[in-house]
């Protein structure tokens, strides 16, 4: 049997960090910036954020991996913990641990990079866009397709405007329901595939959004000829510990907290077809 010798530090131990800013992104979503000297992360990873006396939630890092010193998180209010986190003000403290999970793959040299985001799924993909822009020469074409429920739900609008004004990245934005001030596209993100440039057989696709959206996107990409092993999805389950102890985030054999959250579609396809897995 295993022998235990060295003393052990609590693996769910927290660090106290201070909030630098908290800005509203949309009616139910806020972006908070933390002063986090010494913490680095890779695009696609998440942190466990702790609101004092309330609890922890797994939150993707939505900032730039090449901007050390701060951690950026974009949080939607869906329960008591995220309510408390979204209510933090500059100077407030919260507990953090991480980063956890694997990251978005870089893809092959010379590939097209296709990033498909739905709703809050833009948050873990924003660092991937920054990463792609920092390594732009790695790819032939880089595109972002981003869908939201309504124009008001679109996150990171300043970034979108900036990315639309450069030729380094193709950006296609669509909404499910337009409002009177919306002049853009309406419909599913899959409708936008024809509006961006990618060669299916040489494409790395990064996809994050509601699970039903990812299922449709991954299947459509496969039908277009993108190899299932080149389509990457970031899945969500209710991670409680982030270190493979609590069992909550199991998706088949994978603990999404440490084996994921980013997994390739060839590994996921059959599981995504099973109800209530």
């Amino acid at each position: 049997m295993t022998t235990v010798s060295a003393p052990v530090v609590e693996p769910m131990g927290l660090h106290s960090l201070k909030v630098v800013s908290n800005a509203s992104e949309s009616p139910d979503t806020s972006t908070i910036v933390l002063d986090s000297p010494g913490i680095t992360f890779h695009a696609g990873q998440f942190m466990m954020l702790y609101a004092f006396g309330v609890g922890e939630a797994p939150i993707s890092v939505s900032g730039n991996p090449h901007s050390p010193g701060t951690l950026v998180h974009t949080i939607r209010r869906v329960g008591p913990v995220t309510d408390a986190l979204c209510g933090l003000r500059p100077g407030d403290s919260l507990g953090v641990r991480g980063p956890y999970g694997d990251s978005w793959p870089a893809g092959e040299q010379g590939d097209d990079l296709l990033i498909v985001a739905g709703g809050l799924g833009m948050a873990p993909l924003r660092p991937a866009v920054f990463e792609a822009m920092a390594n732009r020469s790695r790819y032939r074409n880089v595109s972002l397709i981003y869908g939201a429920r309504t124009p008001a739900d679109l996150l990171f609008k300043d970034d979108l405007v900036g990315w639309m004004s450069t030729s380094s990245i193709d950006v296609a934005v669509t909404v499910d329901r337009a409002t009177s001030d919306w002049w853009g596209h309406v419909g599913l993100v899959t409708n936008e595939f024809s509006r961006v440039d990618f060669r299916p057989e040489s494409t790395t696709a990064l996809v994050c959004g509601p699970e039903v959206m990812m299922r449709v996107v991954a299947r459509s990409l496969r039908d277009l000829g993108v190899p299932a092993s080149s389509t990457w999805l970031s899945l969500e389950r209710n991670m409680k510990c982030a270190i493979g102890f609590c069992g909550h985030c199991q998706f088949g054999s994978d603990f999404l907290c440490k084996d994921g959250p980013v997994l390739s579609y060839d590994r996921l396809a059959w599981r995504l077809g099973v109800d209530e897995l």
């Binding site: 049997m1 235990v4 769910m12 106290s16 004092f52 909550h248 199991q250 088949g252 897995l277």
Partner: protein, 369 residues
Amino acid sequence: MDPQTVDRHGLDRLITHLAESGFEVIGPTVRDGAVIYDHISSTSDLPVGQGDAQEGGQYRLVNRGDSALFGYNLGPTSWKQYLFPPKTELLHIRRSNGDLVIEEPPTRTRPMAFFGIRGCELAAISIQDKVFLDSGYVDRTYASGRKDLLLVAVNCTTSAATCFCTSMGTGPKCESGYDIVITELVDDGETRYLVAADTERGESIITAVGGSPAKDEQLANAESAVQSTAADMIRSMDTDGIYDLLIENPDHPRWEQVAERCLTCGNCTQACPTCFCSDVADRVTLDGTAIRERRWDSCFGLDFSALNREPVRESTSSRYRQWMTHKLATWHDQFGSSGCVGCGRCITWCPVGIDITEEIVAMKETVST
């Protein structure tokens, strides 16, 4: 060191020696009509002369009419509660000058001795070792209990109707992973206990306790007692092809059939010696300290899979499927072994008597036809 034999007084000396050596000695004892594990100080704390009658959804103690110390099998509790306690305080957090002050409460320093642990339960500990010590992160609480843990095992010389350890390769004989193993030899005359060591620690304890070298006849009797326990075992699980069976049949009608009986009470996950799922909640004290407390959780609960307040596994069938598929199939991918040791607790303590071995048989039959 050759195996020794002692009488009951010898086992009392062993328990006293462990306590005097600094161990917290925990062993089987009777409480509320069942064998449970708690602190013991002598053999009179053991379930003397007790046996048990077990079936799906049934458990009762029976008087054996002798003074056997190990004439019963497993009760509702397992040693898991000492290494992975039902409630554990992970962190104490308070606010001070605008910062969070985070403290790790002390963990156990006194080593434990498990007296009377069975083969299937040794296997369960080695399975939880993989979860809490060998999978990338080390659990502080579990590690503090495992450090210097002394294991005094017992070879089973009787089996319950719900036992199926032979088919899972974990018993009734303790093959490894213990410091000392005891085999009870109930004779017409005086009952003797064969004691053998598997570690240097175990050897020095047996030397300190004293005994007489075992005779060939006693060794043969011990071996045949264990062999007949294996031969008499009623239940078994045919693990051949079980991984593919479960992975390839998530839509099998049997899941719906078992869901008609399953109450999703979670008794099976509480009683299981390997189930490790937990949740963490904040408890705030009157002085303003938030205590991050880990508690056992169960994949049978509706909250367990809740994502943004909506359960992923809403139906009973999906929750039973998750438990059984994890236990018998995906556990292999995660930890390199089955998550089942064949202890049978989930059968005995299921209020409606759902039998995991029967579920596998039923599924195999319908898939093959």
